[in-house]
């Protein structure tokens, strides 16, 4: 069994490295430089896959949370936690790459555009999710509570987006992205990059899940040990 897992990991890791190399080649050499914004547009090939995968990660948190509440199987809880952590990591990178791109393009690091603002709130919500997990005292039904939070926060995402869009349409800000034209090589590059980051996501998720399983087993053992120590006459 352990051998099987390792083979699967090796294949996945190999695929990640290959696609990552290919996409780096495509991004910096194959894809043409965009005319109006220049070289900085290339960050888009990192930004979009990361954004897509962070949303996907939060969707997985939502699904795994429902499945946990339904089945009370601790594996779903571990899955939700791991996915949330990687989602937060990717979402942070989305915000950072977005800011780097926005500075030369829009001339500001940040603007309160609906999509940006939603991404920021999303980031805050899932950092809160991780903090909630960390701060709950042992012995509390952390998994149940975190699952409920995972469900509520995901359902809140479209409502937040809707509210922010309504808020923005009242005071419109001129953000026009229509100048970006995507040619066929750009689409291919984007798809390659998306594939690379998807493989990376799966690899990270698998490793994180395994680490968490070991951690929880350790905590359980530690708990048993402490309890037995107390029972022994000193």
């Amino acid at each position: 069994m352990a051998q099987k897992v390792r083979i699967g990991d090796t294949i996945l890791l190999g695929l990640t490295c290959l696609t990552m190399l290919a996409s780096l080649y495509a991004i910096f050499i194959y894809a043409p430089t965009e005319k109006t914004t220049g070289v900085v547009q290339k960050i888009f090939y990192f930004h979009l896959p990361l954004a897509f995968l962070s949303f996907f990660a939060f969707f997985l948190v939502f699904l795994a949370s429902i499945l946990y509440l339904y089945s009370q199987d601790v594996r779903w809880d571990i899955f939700a936690q791991s996915s949330a952590e990687i989602g937060v990591l990717f979402c942070s990178l989305v915000l950072i790459t977005g800011a780097i791109w926005a500075r030369p393009t829009w001339n500001v690091w940040w603007t309160w555009d609906p999509r940006l603002t939603t991404a920021l709130i999303l980031w805050f919500m899932y950092v809160a999710y991780l903090m909630l997990r960390k701060l709950l005292k042992p012995g509390v039904q952390t998994s149940n509570i975190a699952s409920v939070f995972g469900i509520i926060s995901f359902i809140n995402v479209p409502i937040t987006f809707f509210a922010i869009r309504m808020w923005r349409t009242i005071h419109p800000v001129v953000i026009d992205q229509s100048g970006i034209h995507i040619s066929a090589p750009m689409v291919i590059t984007l798809l390659l990059s998306l594939a690379a980051f998807s493989f990376l996501f799966v690899v990270l998720l698998r490793i994180r899940v395994r680490v968490e399983k070991v951690l929880r087993a350790y905590e359980e053992l530690y708990f048993l040990l402490e309890r037995n120590k107390k029972r022994l006459p000193s």
Partner: protein, 230 residues
């Protein structure tokens, strides 16, 4: 009517203990007053600044920040006080649905917040010379819907945070991102109403608030079973 029988005693218990200690509502009112006063120093430099100009946005924002900050104080106490006095266990042992506990806590939080809000609204009108009589029905509707949304989400999150370390800080951190839609809708609608807009102009915001209230009430009602643990 069975539900009412389960809910009412818990609400009554909360009211009675509040009536005897007068800890929460009074502290909420004082805190909200202080927030208004501090905002006055932060945003307005002299007399008459609140008249004319484009201050409705700031005034609406101040009012809601005062409500929300004071509301968080109340939410922290809603399960926190019971935890500290070690009666949370007793509440859980009551022969009632966990969901009924949720509804009764929502009701008592709503009551506490309304008392605070009525007081603060009066003070707000006096301090900043805002004529609220004419817009009171619309303003009242916004405040009721906004507070309901805040309390619906806040109560379940307060129940989540009660068993955590640093629960007061945790509650603010998990609550504020969650109520962004309520804040936006309530502040924008209040701003328009203060600027003299009629009710039809803010129906979009009111609809958003109603949708938020409904969705989160049902969601919290359905999942509260899992949240409150011994």
């Amino acid at each position: 009517m069975n539900l009412m029988k389960q809910i009412w005693p818990i609400v009554w218990k909360d009211l009675l203990s509040e009536l005897r200690t007068r800890e929460v509502v009074l502290a909420m009112c004082f805190f909200a007053c202080l927030v208004l006063i501090i905002f006055n120093f932060a945003f307005f430099t002299g007399m008459g600044d609140t008249q004319g100009g484009d201050t409705q946005g700031i005034l609406a924002g101040m009012l809601w920040v005062a409500f929300l900050f004071a509301g968080v104080l109340g939410l922290n106490q809603t399960f926190g006080a019971e935890k500290d006095r070690e009666v949370l266990q007793g509440l859980l042992l009551c022969p009632v649905n966990r969901a009924s506990i949720y509804i009764s806590k929502v009701i008592s939080n709503l009551l506490f917040m309304s008392i605070m809000e009525i007081l603060i609204l009066g003070l707000f009108a006096v301090l900043f010379r805002v004529t609220i009589w004419k817009v009171l029905p619309a303003l009242g509707l916004i405040i009721v819907l906004g507070t309901l949304g805040f309390v619906c989400v806040g109560t379940i999150l307060a129940a989540m945070a009660v068993n955590a370390r640093a629960r007061e800080i945790l509650l603010t951190v998990i609550l504020f991102p969650m109520i962004v839609p309520v804040i936006i809708a309530a502040v924008k609608a209040t701003e328009k109403v203060l600027a003299g807009a009629a009710l039809p102009e803010i129906t979009g915001w009111l609809k958003l608030l109603v949708a938020f209230d409904l969705i989160f009430f049902l969601l919290a009602y359905g999942t509260f079973d899992f949240v409150l643990s011994e």
